[in-house]
Symmetry: C2
């Protein structure tokens, strides 16, 4: 049902697709590295599976292969970037690089971005800070598929946020989470498994609980009402207003601050046709040395992680995980053994290669 | 069952208590303003109800009335502050002022704090940024009363975070949330109502669901295991690992970065006796003008808020709330009509006045 592909081969294929589409070599390679990083870490929903859609957008003129990325406003610790409607991965990497540079100079750097596109896995950008011994932050607004608390229509995004911080002997902490109860990719997982989704994940246009993951997908793409619920679920009893608030917070940093599309207007449909996404992002980097001797910080990180790992477990559980730990373990395995790509993904990539008149290597 | 007290009278009483305890006049007044701000906004758990405990800590030498607050490290956009074991409100206000000053100079300011104490309502500090047309951020670590995902012992805090952003015609957005499914104050609310808490709020030392709010309080203060669940609830199905991750993120910014206590060591019990809290905080301010013309930002905020308010509602619901809105409405009413203080609170304040040999005005 799936084919094992080596990550280097996958990266070479994605690079050549983007080059064929007119993306300059270094940008094509960067976008490929970031897509493969997602598949390596087990976040299949944000990896190569998105390539056919991105290629289609580029062919339709909805994404610029050679964007004019501009710093529009700048202060020592901040900047506003116009992404020129380029590939999200290319725009986001530049924005995060600028944060890191600013954090080196003045201790902290924060950059808000407009006119970008889906940037893939948020954790890639926050993790860019790690090799500079910084804490990294990445956020983005997204297609509106989440209903606010007490609402019954999706008008906010799953608006993910990621924070990465280095440790010493332990692996880094890498939080990378949608602010909704689940990301939309979970519907696909349940669809493939042929299982109903739990009550508390999604509601229909009348506010009733939905159970069939395929119906949820249909509803979300039709934009006729209903939506995935925010983290904390329905109403306020279990904190649904908190997930809704986090989603709004991410949109304020990413969309409102940058002047990109926000709320229901990200990836708009105009006259039934797609228009450029005008996605907004937000990035930050904090120099650890600006606050604390680095070794002290790292040994405290190790201590907090060890405390958690050694704490008493729930019956039936053998581990308490640190955020990012599962993904690091999957990556180790996949770098060694290759990445399994579902037959549907292989088929869609083969169709893309045919469309672009390119050889297909898998 | 309760007494109505005017906010000015309450503020004067709290100020005089702190002055009696040796806190300098301006600091006493500031701490009183921040406590009253909490009661005005309807966050009773963080208002004057905490005064007897804080006074007790001060009388026992666990909080310094005249702390030596020091900037220990500094870069143009960042600082590390030693709170000198002072009142959290006094330390936190100074730290947030420094963020605002830095954001005026270089666009952004971030300050991490160690050796502080419970600072009351997080939203007060994030909202300090609003009058400077900035986005404000406030976080703090707390007493460990939350169990991590797959754990059955409370070793992380409710670690709240607050983000405030100004709007134009609309009221500001003020997110102020514990990263747990509920704050511990909710147990008190259910205890007073005489109701069971819903399954999914707290577990006992064996990992079983708890129903009696009084039992939860007893368990939390005994530190024998069990805990409140993170936002997203038990396990991973509804995103409990996300709430756990947000709690850990807040501790990294507040505790690990500053070198304060963190995880299970905040407000430690040593040999059965209390020791100084060594609480850590984290604050940030972002200049909006550094990213966008201010009027554009504010009109976009108005648009996103109006979009939300006008969206289709769930059956039985008449409003979709913006974060902070309920609290602004309560504050308006309470400024006019006074603050209702429960008889138990009045009694505890009267006992405090007697202990301090002060007149009691209510």
């Amino acid at each position: 049902m799936s084919t094992i592909v080596q990550h280097n081969d996958l990266q070479a294929f994605i690079t050549s697709v983007y080059e064929k589409l007119g993306v300059p070599g270094p940008d094509a390679q960067l976008a490929a590295i970031i897509a493969v990083a997602s598949d390596l870490r087990g976040v299949e929903s944000h990896g190569v599976v998105m390539l056919p859609r991105k290629a289609d957008y580029m062919l339709k003129g909805l994404i610029e292969p050679k964007p004019k990325i501009k710093v529009e406003r700048e202060s020592p610790a901040t900047a506003l970037i116009d992404g020129g409607n380029g590939l999200g991965a290319v725009v986001a990497s530049q924005a995060m690089e600028l944060c890191i540079q600013k954090a080196k100079e003045v201790g902290a750097g924060f950059v808000s971005v407009h006119d970008s596109n889906h940037y893939g896995i948020a954790g890639y950008y926050s993790m860019m800070a790690l090799e500079h011994d910084m804490i990294g932050i990445a956020m983005t607004n997204t297609t509106p598929i989440v209903a606010p608390t007490f609402g019954r229509k999706a008008i906010i995004g799953t608006n993910p946020l990621s924070v990465a911080a280095p440790a010493g002997a332990e692996r880094p902490f890498v939080l990378d989470m949608a602010t909704s109860v689940v990301p939309s990719g979970k519907m696909t997982v349940y669809k493939i498994k042929g299982e109903d989704i739990p009550e508390g994940w999604a509601i229909d246009s009348e506010g009733k609980a939905m159970h069939n993951p395929a119906d949820v997908h249909t509803m979300l793409y039709s934009r006729t009402g209903g939506g995935i619920l925010p983290l904390g679920g329905l109403g306020e009893l279990f904190g649904g207003h908190k997930g809704y608030g986090l989603s709004l917070m991410v949109d304020i940093f990413s969309g409102i601050l940058s002047g990109s599309a926000f709320g229901p207007n990200v990836y708009p449909s105009k006259d039934g046709k797609k228009a450029p996404g005008n996605v907004g992002h937000f990035f930050g980097a904090l120099s650890i040395e600006a606050f604390s001797p680095l070794d002290d910080f790292k040994s405290r990180m190790d201590e907090v992680i060890e405390n958690l790992k050694n704490a008493p477990k729930m019956p039936g559980q053998e581990r308490i995980y640190i955020h990012g730990e599962k993904e690091y373990e999957i990556e180790e395995k996949r770098r060694e053994e290759g990445i399994p790509l579902h037959d549907q993904v292989i088929t869609s990539l083969e169709e893309l290669a045919t469309r672009l008149e390119m050889p297909f290597p898998f």
